[in-house]
Amino acid sequence: MSMINYASREINCKIVYYGPGLGGKTTNLEYIYNKVAPTTRGKLISLATETERTLFFDFLPVDLGTIRGFKTRFHLYTVPGQVYYNASRKLILKGVDGVVFVADSQVERLDANIESMHNLYENLAEYGYDLRQIPFVIQYNKRDLPNVSPVEELERHLNPDRVPSYEGVATKGIGVFDTLKAVAKLVIKSLG
Protein backbone atom coordinates (compact mmCIF):
# COMPACT_ATOMS: atom_id res chain seq x y z
CA MET A 1 0.00 0.00 0.00
CA SER A 2 2.21 2.79 -1.19
CA MET A 3 1.24 6.01 0.48
CA ILE A 4 1.28 9.09 -1.71
CA ASN A 5 1.04 12.25 0.33
CA TYR A 6 0.22 15.08 -2.05
CA ALA A 7 0.34 17.61 0.77
CA SER A 8 3.93 16.93 1.84
CA ARG A 9 4.74 15.49 -1.61
CA GLU A 10 6.09 12.19 -0.38
CA ILE A 11 5.84 8.63 -1.68
CA ASN A 12 6.71 5.73 0.60
CA CYS A 13 6.89 2.17 -0.68
CA LYS A 14 7.19 -0.97 1.43
CA ILE A 15 9.39 -3.84 0.26
CA VAL A 16 9.47 -7.04 2.31
CA TYR A 17 12.24 -9.65 2.27
CA TYR A 18 10.67 -13.06 2.89
CA GLY A 19 12.08 -16.58 3.06
CA PRO A 20 13.09 -19.46 5.33
CA GLY A 21 15.07 -18.98 8.54
CA LEU A 22 18.82 -18.33 8.21
CA GLY A 23 18.43 -17.76 4.46
CA GLY A 24 20.15 -14.36 4.44
CA LYS A 25 17.34 -11.79 4.57
CA THR A 26 18.94 -9.75 7.33
CA THR A 27 22.34 -10.09 5.61
CA ASN A 28 20.84 -8.49 2.50
CA LEU A 29 19.66 -5.50 4.52
CA GLU A 30 22.95 -5.21 6.38
CA TYR A 31 24.85 -5.14 3.10
CA ILE A 32 22.55 -2.44 1.71
CA TYR A 33 22.94 -0.46 4.93
CA ASN A 34 26.72 -0.59 4.70
CA LYS A 35 26.96 0.18 1.00
CA VAL A 36 24.51 2.99 0.26
CA ALA A 37 25.55 6.55 1.02
CA PRO A 38 24.84 7.27 4.71
CA THR A 39 22.92 10.40 3.74
CA THR A 40 20.38 8.32 1.84
CA ARG A 41 19.46 5.85 4.52
CA GLY A 42 18.09 5.88 8.03
CA LYS A 43 18.88 3.64 10.96
CA LEU A 44 18.81 -0.12 10.55
CA ILE A 45 16.36 -1.25 13.21
CA SER A 46 16.62 -4.91 14.21
CA LEU A 47 14.20 -6.55 16.58
CA ALA A 48 16.28 -9.67 17.12
CA THR A 49 16.95 -12.24 19.82
CA GLU A 50 20.22 -12.36 21.76
CA THR A 51 21.51 -14.83 19.21
CA GLU A 52 20.79 -12.38 16.40
CA ARG A 53 17.86 -14.31 15.00
CA THR A 54 15.18 -11.95 13.75
CA LEU A 55 12.37 -11.92 16.28
CA PHE A 56 9.94 -9.48 14.71
CA PHE A 57 11.56 -7.63 11.81
CA ASP A 58 14.47 -5.57 10.54
CA PHE A 59 13.72 -2.20 9.05
CA LEU A 60 15.80 0.06 6.82
CA PRO A 61 14.47 3.22 5.15
CA VAL A 62 16.29 4.23 1.97
CA ASP A 63 15.74 7.61 0.39
CA LEU A 64 15.68 7.83 -3.38
CA GLY A 65 15.68 11.62 -3.30
CA THR A 66 13.16 13.98 -4.85
CA ILE A 67 11.77 12.67 -8.12
CA ARG A 68 9.60 15.09 -10.11
CA GLY A 69 8.77 16.95 -6.94
CA PHE A 70 8.06 13.88 -4.81
CA LYS A 71 10.33 12.78 -2.00
CA THR A 72 10.50 9.05 -2.73
CA ARG A 73 11.46 6.44 -0.15
CA PHE A 74 11.67 2.69 0.11
CA HIS A 75 11.03 1.06 3.44
CA LEU A 76 12.82 -2.29 3.47
CA TYR A 77 11.63 -4.91 5.95
CA THR A 78 12.64 -8.48 6.68
CA VAL A 79 10.40 -11.02 8.38
CA PRO A 80 11.50 -13.67 10.88
CA GLY A 81 12.01 -16.85 8.89
CA GLN A 82 11.48 -19.40 11.61
CA VAL A 83 8.25 -21.31 11.09
CA TYR A 84 6.73 -20.54 14.50
CA TYR A 85 6.92 -16.77 14.06
CA ASN A 86 4.08 -16.67 11.56
CA ALA A 87 2.02 -14.10 13.44
CA SER A 88 4.89 -11.59 13.19
CA ARG A 89 5.52 -12.47 9.58
CA LYS A 90 1.96 -11.81 8.61
CA LEU A 91 1.88 -8.45 10.34
CA ILE A 92 4.90 -7.22 8.40
CA LEU A 93 3.23 -8.08 5.08
CA LYS A 94 0.45 -5.61 5.75
CA GLY A 95 0.49 -2.96 3.04
CA VAL A 96 3.39 -4.52 1.14
CA ASP A 97 4.25 -3.02 -2.27
CA GLY A 98 6.95 -5.45 -3.35
CA VAL A 99 8.33 -8.80 -2.17
CA VAL A 100 11.80 -10.35 -2.36
CA PHE A 101 11.94 -14.05 -1.61
CA VAL A 102 15.41 -14.97 -0.36
CA ALA A 103 15.80 -18.71 -0.95
CA ASP A 104 18.53 -20.76 0.69
CA SER A 105 20.14 -22.68 -2.19
CA GLN A 106 21.45 -25.54 -0.05
CA VAL A 107 20.00 -28.92 -1.01
CA GLU A 108 18.82 -29.66 2.52
CA ARG A 109 16.88 -26.40 2.67
CA LEU A 110 14.73 -27.06 -0.39
CA ASP A 111 11.74 -28.17 1.66
CA ALA A 112 12.09 -25.15 3.94
CA ASN A 113 12.08 -22.88 0.87
CA ILE A 114 8.95 -24.51 -0.51
CA GLU A 115 7.20 -24.31 2.84
CA SER A 116 8.10 -20.65 3.21
CA MET A 117 6.87 -19.87 -0.32
CA HIS A 118 3.52 -21.51 0.45
CA ASN A 119 3.36 -19.57 3.66
CA LEU A 120 3.97 -16.33 1.73
CA TYR A 121 1.07 -17.07 -0.63
CA GLU A 122 -1.19 -17.96 2.28
CA ASN A 123 -0.35 -14.91 4.36
CA LEU A 124 -0.84 -12.56 1.41
CA ALA A 125 -4.13 -14.24 0.55
CA GLU A 126 -5.38 -13.54 4.06
CA TYR A 127 -5.00 -9.83 3.31
CA GLY A 128 -6.69 -10.35 -0.06
CA TYR A 129 -3.44 -9.84 -1.97
CA ASP A 130 -2.34 -12.07 -4.83
CA LEU A 131 1.41 -12.52 -5.18
CA ARG A 132 1.05 -12.71 -8.95
CA GLN A 133 -0.24 -9.13 -8.89
CA ILE A 134 2.49 -7.74 -6.66
CA PRO A 135 6.02 -6.79 -7.73
CA PHE A 136 7.97 -9.92 -6.82
CA VAL A 137 11.53 -11.16 -7.35
CA ILE A 138 13.49 -14.15 -6.04
CA GLN A 139 17.09 -14.37 -4.88
CA TYR A 140 18.82 -17.77 -4.77
CA ASN A 141 21.26 -17.07 -1.99
CA LYS A 142 24.38 -18.88 -0.74
CA ARG A 143 25.52 -19.86 -4.23
CA ASP A 144 29.11 -20.06 -2.94
CA LEU A 145 28.37 -23.12 -0.77
CA PRO A 146 29.33 -26.59 -2.04
CA ASN A 147 26.00 -28.32 -1.49
CA VAL A 148 23.63 -26.14 -3.50
CA SER A 149 20.75 -27.23 -5.72
CA PRO A 150 21.06 -26.32 -9.40
CA VAL A 151 19.26 -23.05 -10.17
CA GLU A 152 17.01 -24.86 -12.68
CA GLU A 153 15.76 -27.12 -9.92
CA LEU A 154 15.09 -24.18 -7.61
CA GLU A 155 13.29 -22.38 -10.41
CA ARG A 156 11.13 -25.41 -11.04
CA HIS A 157 10.06 -25.65 -7.40
CA LEU A 158 9.89 -22.00 -6.42
CA ASN A 159 9.31 -19.94 -9.53
CA PRO A 160 6.54 -21.38 -11.70
CA ASP A 161 5.51 -17.89 -12.84
CA ARG A 162 9.07 -17.05 -13.90
CA VAL A 163 9.41 -13.81 -12.02
CA PRO A 164 12.88 -12.21 -12.18
CA SER A 165 15.39 -14.24 -10.18
CA TYR A 166 19.00 -13.62 -9.18
CA GLU A 167 21.82 -15.73 -7.81
CA GLY A 168 23.33 -14.29 -4.68
CA VAL A 169 26.02 -14.54 -2.05
CA ALA A 170 24.62 -12.00 0.38
CA THR A 171 27.58 -12.22 2.77
CA LYS A 172 29.77 -10.88 -0.04
CA GLY A 173 27.10 -8.62 -1.49
CA ILE A 174 26.82 -10.62 -4.69
CA GLY A 175 23.36 -10.21 -6.19
CA VAL A 176 22.11 -7.99 -3.36
CA PHE A 177 21.80 -4.77 -5.35
CA ASP A 178 20.63 -6.60 -8.50
CA THR A 179 17.76 -8.03 -6.49
CA LEU A 180 16.91 -4.73 -4.83
CA LYS A 181 17.08 -2.77 -8.07
CA ALA A 182 14.76 -5.23 -9.78
CA VAL A 183 12.07 -5.12 -7.12
CA ALA A 184 12.39 -1.35 -6.63
CA LYS A 185 11.88 -0.73 -10.33
CA LEU A 186 8.85 -3.01 -10.45
CA VAL A 187 7.35 -1.14 -7.50
CA ILE A 188 7.96 2.24 -9.15
CA LYS A 189 6.40 1.00 -12.39
CA SER A 190 3.31 -0.07 -10.46
CA LEU A 191 2.90 3.55 -9.26
CA GLY A 192 3.29 5.15 -12.66
Binding site: S2, A7, S8, T40, I45, F56, L91, I188
Partner: protein, 166 residues
Amino acid sequence: MTAGGAPSWSFGPSDSQRIEEILNNLLYESNARCALLVDRTGQLVTTVGEQPSFDSAAFASLTAADFSANDQLASLIGEEEFSSLFHQGRTESMYLADVGKRLILVVLFNQQTTLGLVRIKIKDAVAGLNKAFEEVFGRGEDEESPALERGFVDEAEDEIDRLFRE
Protein backbone atom coordinates in the same frame (compact mmCIF):
# COMPACT_ATOMS: atom_id res chain seq x y z
CA MET B 1 -2.03 -0.23 -7.86
CA THR B 2 -3.06 -3.33 -9.75
CA ALA B 3 -6.04 -5.38 -8.60
CA GLY B 4 -5.00 -8.06 -6.16
CA GLY B 5 -2.19 -5.99 -4.73
CA ALA B 6 -2.35 -3.65 -1.79
CA PRO B 7 -4.48 -0.58 -2.49
CA SER B 8 -2.77 2.79 -2.47
CA TRP B 9 -4.21 5.73 -0.69
CA SER B 10 -3.42 9.38 -0.88
CA PHE B 11 -4.54 12.67 0.49
CA GLY B 12 -4.20 16.21 -0.67
CA PRO B 13 -3.62 19.66 0.85
CA SER B 14 -7.19 20.17 2.08
CA ASP B 15 -7.18 16.82 3.94
CA SER B 16 -3.82 17.65 5.36
CA GLN B 17 -4.97 21.04 6.61
CA ARG B 18 -8.01 19.57 8.29
CA ILE B 19 -6.00 16.82 9.97
CA GLU B 20 -3.34 19.21 11.21
CA GLU B 21 -6.00 21.49 12.62
CA ILE B 22 -7.40 18.62 14.69
CA LEU B 23 -3.94 17.67 15.92
CA ASN B 24 -2.93 21.24 16.74
CA ASN B 25 -6.12 21.67 18.69
CA LEU B 26 -5.36 18.45 20.58
CA LEU B 27 -1.90 19.69 21.52
CA TYR B 28 -3.25 23.05 22.62
CA GLU B 29 -5.96 21.54 24.81
CA SER B 30 -3.90 18.72 26.29
CA ASN B 31 -0.62 20.60 26.66
CA ALA B 32 1.18 17.68 25.05
CA ARG B 33 4.39 18.26 23.10
CA CYS B 34 3.97 16.49 19.85
CA ALA B 35 1.46 14.40 17.91
CA LEU B 36 2.31 11.99 15.14
CA LEU B 37 -0.03 10.18 12.81
CA VAL B 38 1.26 6.85 11.54
CA ASP B 39 -0.46 4.40 9.23
CA ARG B 40 -0.82 0.74 10.18
CA THR B 41 1.80 -0.28 7.66
CA GLY B 42 4.41 1.79 9.49
CA GLN B 43 4.52 4.97 7.45
CA LEU B 44 4.53 8.41 8.98
CA VAL B 45 1.61 10.50 7.72
CA THR B 46 2.18 13.75 9.56
CA THR B 47 3.71 15.36 12.64
CA VAL B 48 2.58 18.47 14.49
CA GLY B 49 3.96 20.31 17.49
CA GLU B 50 7.61 20.12 18.52
CA GLN B 51 9.54 18.47 15.73
CA PRO B 52 10.93 15.22 17.14
CA SER B 53 14.70 14.88 17.28
CA PHE B 54 14.56 11.11 16.77
CA ASP B 55 14.44 9.12 13.53
CA SER B 56 10.75 9.45 12.68
CA ALA B 57 10.78 6.71 10.01
CA ALA B 58 12.04 4.22 12.57
CA PHE B 59 9.59 5.56 15.12
CA ALA B 60 6.67 5.09 12.73
CA SER B 61 7.61 1.52 11.84
CA LEU B 62 8.04 0.56 15.49
CA THR B 63 4.75 2.22 16.43
CA ALA B 64 2.89 0.16 13.84
CA ALA B 65 4.65 -2.99 15.05
CA ASP B 66 3.82 -2.14 18.65
CA PHE B 67 0.15 -1.72 17.83
CA SER B 68 0.03 -4.84 15.67
CA ALA B 69 1.69 -6.95 18.35
CA ASN B 70 -0.80 -5.65 20.90
CA ASP B 71 -3.69 -6.47 18.57
CA GLN B 72 -2.52 -10.06 18.57
CA LEU B 73 -2.16 -10.03 22.35
CA ALA B 74 -5.70 -8.68 22.63
CA SER B 75 -7.10 -11.48 20.53
CA LEU B 76 -5.18 -14.07 22.56
CA ILE B 77 -6.94 -12.95 25.72
CA GLY B 78 -10.29 -12.79 23.98
CA GLU B 79 -10.45 -9.04 23.35
CA GLU B 80 -11.28 -7.68 19.94
CA GLU B 81 -8.61 -5.01 20.23
CA PHE B 82 -6.76 -2.64 22.52
CA SER B 83 -7.90 0.65 21.06
CA SER B 84 -5.27 2.59 22.98
CA LEU B 85 -1.87 1.97 24.54
CA PHE B 86 0.10 3.94 27.09
CA HIS B 87 3.86 3.81 27.60
CA GLN B 88 5.13 5.58 30.68
CA GLY B 89 8.66 6.86 30.91
CA ARG B 90 10.50 8.72 33.68
CA THR B 91 9.99 12.10 32.01
CA GLU B 92 8.54 11.36 28.57
CA SER B 93 5.46 9.27 27.95
CA MET B 94 3.43 8.31 24.95
CA TYR B 95 -0.20 7.51 24.36
CA LEU B 96 -1.26 5.67 21.23
CA ALA B 97 -4.81 5.48 19.91
CA ASP B 98 -6.38 3.66 17.00
CA VAL B 99 -7.93 5.77 14.25
CA GLY B 100 -10.40 3.84 12.11
CA LYS B 101 -8.23 0.69 12.09
CA ARG B 102 -6.06 2.32 9.43
CA LEU B 103 -3.97 4.78 11.41
CA ILE B 104 -2.44 5.32 14.82
CA LEU B 105 -2.36 8.62 16.65
CA VAL B 106 0.68 8.97 18.90
CA VAL B 107 0.91 11.75 21.44
CA LEU B 108 4.19 12.47 23.23
CA PHE B 109 3.93 14.31 26.51
CA ASN B 110 5.84 15.05 29.71
CA GLN B 111 5.09 16.26 33.22
CA GLN B 112 3.64 19.52 31.89
CA THR B 113 0.34 17.65 31.63
CA THR B 114 -1.38 14.56 32.98
CA LEU B 115 -2.32 11.21 31.53
CA GLY B 116 -5.99 11.86 32.35
CA LEU B 117 -6.14 15.11 30.41
CA VAL B 118 -4.28 13.62 27.44
CA ARG B 119 -6.60 10.63 27.41
CA ILE B 120 -9.77 12.77 27.41
CA LYS B 121 -8.56 15.11 24.70
CA ILE B 122 -7.34 12.27 22.51
CA LYS B 123 -10.85 10.83 22.45
CA ASP B 124 -12.19 14.03 20.85
CA ALA B 125 -9.31 14.15 18.39
CA VAL B 126 -9.81 10.51 17.38
CA ALA B 127 -13.50 11.18 16.68
CA GLY B 128 -12.54 14.10 14.42
CA LEU B 129 -9.82 12.13 12.67
CA ASN B 130 -12.13 9.18 12.12
CA LYS B 131 -14.55 11.45 10.32
CA ALA B 132 -11.81 13.08 8.23
CA PHE B 133 -10.30 9.76 7.18
CA GLU B 134 -13.65 8.19 6.39
CA GLU B 135 -13.83 10.76 3.65
CA VAL B 136 -10.23 10.17 2.51
CA PHE B 137 -10.72 6.41 2.27
CA GLY B 138 -14.28 6.65 1.04
CA ARG B 139 -13.65 8.59 -2.11
CA GLY B 140 -12.17 7.42 -5.38
CA GLU B 141 -8.39 7.48 -5.66
CA ASP B 142 -8.30 10.22 -8.25
CA GLU B 143 -10.25 13.03 -6.66
CA GLU B 144 -7.39 14.67 -4.83
CA SER B 145 -4.63 12.64 -6.36
CA PRO B 146 -3.48 13.87 -9.72
CA ALA B 147 -1.47 11.31 -11.65
CA LEU B 148 2.27 11.34 -11.06
CA GLU B 149 4.01 13.47 -13.66
CA ARG B 150 5.01 11.83 -16.89
CA GLY B 151 8.66 10.92 -16.63
CA PHE B 152 8.44 10.03 -12.94
CA VAL B 153 9.04 6.33 -13.59
CA ASP B 154 12.04 6.89 -15.89
CA GLU B 155 13.63 9.35 -13.54
CA ALA B 156 13.04 7.11 -10.52
CA GLU B 157 14.58 4.15 -12.36
CA ASP B 158 17.69 6.18 -13.16
CA GLU B 159 17.94 7.17 -9.54
CA ILE B 160 17.57 3.53 -8.43
CA ASP B 161 20.50 2.58 -10.71
CA ARG B 162 22.58 5.42 -9.33
CA LEU B 163 21.84 4.72 -5.68
CA PHE B 164 22.07 0.93 -5.60
CA ARG B 165 25.46 0.26 -7.12
CA GLU B 166 28.66 -1.23 -5.77
